[in-house]
């Protein structure tokens, strides 16, 4: 009788285990599209054998634990790659915006400069013509307006970046808090000997997202909690404590500081960040100011060269020594402030003297367009063309980096999925396997049942 009961017991463990394995498989199938989900596998083992009359007999099967397919190496790589991809992605939008502003079309600043000098050339053919004189003034106004609006668009691109940074902070802080909470949960579940598989999946996913936005590095302690750091070494999450990012506006630009729950706060510099934040801030702090400085240099040189020549000539009204553009003392900010100082066509110094037909100064001014006046090596158009081509190279390089890092990120995600992801085919085959196991256990039970029946019918 003991034999049959233990056979029933074996059947019971088999039936329960098969049911559990089907549940695990079902859970895998259910999460086939869950991002960051790691495929779970039931680890089966047999119950200890019992010794009867010196022989060992098995006593059934049990699930030791449910594990997740996980590759720490790939997960780390995924984090690092996400940081690179995040940085390139984040730079792409504002860089494109800068490229659009530094246009290479005929309506670009370079085109306006050419048209401005062309109008002087045209004036030289008929220096007393008031229509041509007004045309010079209008072209100059369009040109200085173009400088001013280009600078405005560049600073609005900077402002867009600031707003983007501010809007991202809230999500980052939320994720930091969630990781701290997950740390706490995972540690407490695992010390009780329970698995925290989906919590770990969720935490891995959050860490990857933060790598993409902040370029965080992390390590896992013995207690199963992860610590998160910025590339600059500042701790973001320590065990179950999360710091939070705060923003302040300094001179219009967003600056960050890190606040501990205890209340202390540390100021962060852009170099402390990685990922999207670094990408955005590098465009805001180095790229755009570089372009603005070049435009200032162009505007300042143009303004001074034109003014110097213009002062040496005389207007139709006989007044000489006038500035054409409102003079500026320093180069910084020249592009945003450049403005035409003259208001009347007859104030234009087309001639060296005030005679109506004197066109000598107009000729000199028209010739400025082909003079290498910037640093003695570049014409105005050449200088602008260099600037535009540098901006183009930056955009091109960034888009190559972006494409490359997206490719390798895709490869890594595929590699991760092929070890840790859910394949429907695999799950289906496992399902069949576990179903057959379940059917066989049921058959075993019914066989034992029949055997018991035959045994009990002996007494009748």
């Amino acid at each position: 009788m003991g034999g049959l009961t233990s056979a029933l017991n074996i059947g019971k463990t088999s039936l329960l285990t098969s049911q559990k394995t089907i549940e695990v498989t079902g859970n895998n199938i259910a999460n086939v599209n869950t991002p960051g989900y790691s495929r779970q596998i039931p680890i089966l083992s047999s119950y200890p054998t019992v010794q009867i009359n010196g022989q060992s007999f098995g006593t059934g099967v049990k699930i030791d634990q449910v594990m997740r397919n996980h590759d720490t190496f790939l997960q780390r790589q995924l984090g690092e790659r996400s940081a690179t991809a995040g940085e390139a992605d984040a730079r792409s939008m504002p860089l494109t915006q800068v490229e659009q502003v530094i246009s290479i079309s005929e309506s670009s600043i370079a085109g306006e400069i050419s048209r401005f000098f062309d109008s002087w050339q045209e004036l030289s053919t008929d220096p007393s013509n008031s229509a041509l004189r007004n045309q010079v003034l209008q072209r100059a106004q369009t040109l200085s307006g173009n400088f001013n609006s280009t600078i405005r668009e560049l600073s609005s691109a900077q402002e867009d970046i600031n707003v983007t940074l501010e809007s991202k902070v809230e999500a980052v802080n939320f994720k930091l808090k969630e990781i701290a909470t997950l740390n706490q949960r995972i540690a407490s579940l695992e010390t009780k000997g329970q698995g925290a598989l989906s919590d770990r999946d969720r935490r891995d996913q959050l860490v990857t997202e933060l790598s993409s936005s902040l370029g965080v590095s992390y390590f896992e302690g013995d207690n199963g909690m992860v610590s998160l750091q910025l590339p600059g070494g500042h701790t973001l999450v320590q065990d179950s404590t999360a710091m939070s990012l705060e923003t302040q506006r300094v001179d219009g630009n967003v600056q960050f500081s890190l606040r501990a729950p205890s209340g202390g706060s540390v100021a962060l510099i852009p170099g402390n960040f990685g990922g999207e934040f670094r990408g955005l801030m590098s465009v805001r702090d180095s790229h755009i100011p570089g372009v603005v400085a070049d435009l200032d240099k162009l505007a300042y040189n143009l303004l001074n060269e034109v003014n110097t020549l213009h002062q040496s000539g005389s207007g139709l009204d006989g007044v000489s020594g006038r500035d054409f553009f409102t003079p500026l003392a320093v180069e910084a900010g020249a592009a945003s402030q450049i403005a035409v100082g003259l208001t009347q066509g007859n104030q234009l110094a087309a001639g060296t003297g005030s005679a109506a037909g004197d066109n000598r100064n107009a000729l000199n001014l028209a010739a400025l367009s082909s003079k290498k006046v910037i640093g003695g090596t570049e014409t105005f158009t050449g200088f602008y063309a260099n600037l535009a081509s540098r901006v183009g190279i930056d955009v091109q390089q960034n888009s190559l980096t972006q494409m490359g890092s997206q490719d390798s990120l895709l490869q890594l995600q595929n590699r991760r999925d092929s070890s840790a992801g859910v394949s429907l085919e695999e799950e289906m085959i496992n399902l069949i396997m576990f179903q057959k196991g379940f059917e066989a256990s049921a058959k075993l039970l019914s066989t034992v049942d029949e055997m018991m029946d035959s045994l009990l019918s002996l007494k009748r």
């Binding site: 086939v32 599209n33 490229e99 659009q100 530094i102 246009s103 290479i104 005929e106 670009s108 370079a110 085109g111 050419s114 048209r115 062309d118 050339q121 045209e122 030289s124 053919t125 008929d126 007393s128 003297g353 005679a355 109506a356 037909g357 004197d358 066109n359 000729l363 028209a366 010739a367 367009s369 082909s370 158009t381 050449g382 602008y384 063309a385 260099n386 535009a388 081509s389 901006v391 183009g392 190279i393 955009v395 091109q396 888009s399 997206q406 895709l410 995600q413 595929n414 999925d417 092929s418 070890s419 992801g421 859910v422 394949s423 429907l424 085919e425 695999e426 289906m428 085959i429 069949i432």
Partner: protein
């Protein structure tokens, strides 16, 4: 290596994204005909393309300048031709007056004609183009020749005074190349290039000459009038010298204009090589990309049809 569903869809999606964005770029390229619409399309072409465009625009300016210079020279050529004709007629009258068959009364009417010639010469000298005096130098709003109130032959033999200046109106016809397109009225009509108020050696004051001839005819001074014939020849040479200078300048402008137009064509070709798309290449590329996209789509539909579930 295990291929999960996510792998397949992720790869397909990224591939389709990329192909369709490339296809979109090709469509823009073939629709605009430009392969260089923003700096990142080809950063190395930006500088040569912009410089070429500037030079094309500059060439337009030079062509306009040359056209205006040429029309100016045309008008001057006509004026100088008329001055020549007036002097030739004056010479004819002087030669005729030497004929003994003419009486003093005939010479008086010749003197009247000569007076008309002198007045016509003044009209030529004060001629205007677009309301501006042609022979006044830079002082184009000032009438260059006006009667000398102190005119009194032996003491002050200048019937006309020059009110313009000696400005030489130059136009730039190619980078760094300037040509003078006006004639200094003082040296043309008064033979006074240095502006000291008296004719330079070997030159004549045409108005004073005509006045002397007229006076000679009126006073029936045959010998005096004939003596002026050489001076009239000099005056004619003085005018034709300037006229041939105008002709030379005009032909130089025409040569430069043709050269500039040629250069402009070359520059346009150069610019086109930097910024225009090769349409055949673009269209071929576009067709390739369309095929790639179609292939990717048909693969996607096949994947969704194929499932292990159908076989279980």
């Amino acid at each position: 290596m295990k291929v999960t569903n996510m792998n397949t869809y992720r790869t397909l999606l990224s591939q389709m994204d990329r192909t369709s964005s490339e296809l979109n770029q090709s469509r823009i390229t073939s629709a605009t005909g430009k392969r260089l619409t923003k700096a990142s399309d080809d950063p190395t072409s930006v500088r040569p393309a912009m410089l070429a465009r500037e030079r094309i625009q500059g060439a337009d300016g030079f062509l306009r300048t040359m056209a205006s210079g040429l029309s100016r020279l045309d008008v001057q050529d006509t004026n100088l031709g008329q001055a020549e004709n007036l002097l030739i007629r004056a010479s004819e009258l002087v030669v005729m007056s030497g004929n003994g068959a003419y009486s003093a009364a005939d010479r008086l009417s010749m003197a009247d004609e000569l007076k008309n010639l002198r007045e016509s010469m003044l009209v030529v000298a004060n001629s205007q183009v677009d309301g501006k005096y042609a022979f006044a130098g830079y002082a184009e709003n000032t009438q260059p020749f006006s009667a000398n109130p102190a005119y009194n032959p032996p003491v002050d033999s200048r019937p006309m005074l020059y009110g313009g200046d000696q400005g030489s109106v130059k136009l730039e016809i190619s980078p760094g190349e300037q040509v003078a397109v006006n004639i200094d009225g003082q040296s043309l009509f008064l033979g006074d290039a240095d502006g000291d108020g008296n004719p330079d050696p070997g030159k004549v004051d045409i108005f004073a000459l005509l006045a002397r001839v007229e006076e000679g005819l009126r006073s029936n001074d045959q010998a005096g009038v004939s003596a002026e014939l050489d001076n009239l020849k000099t005056a004619l040479e003085q005018v034709s010298g300037f006229r041939s200078q105008v002709g030379n300048t005009a032909s130089r402008l025409e040569t430069s204009r043709d050269a500039m137009a040629d250069v402009q064509v070359d520059l346009k070709e150069l610019l086109s090589s930097y910024e225009d798309a090769d349409l055949a290449e673009t269209l071929t590329k576009m067709m390739q990309q369309e095929q790639a996209l179609q292939a990717a789509m048909s693969v996607t539909s096949r994947i969704s049809k194929m499932s292990i579930l159908d076989y279980l």
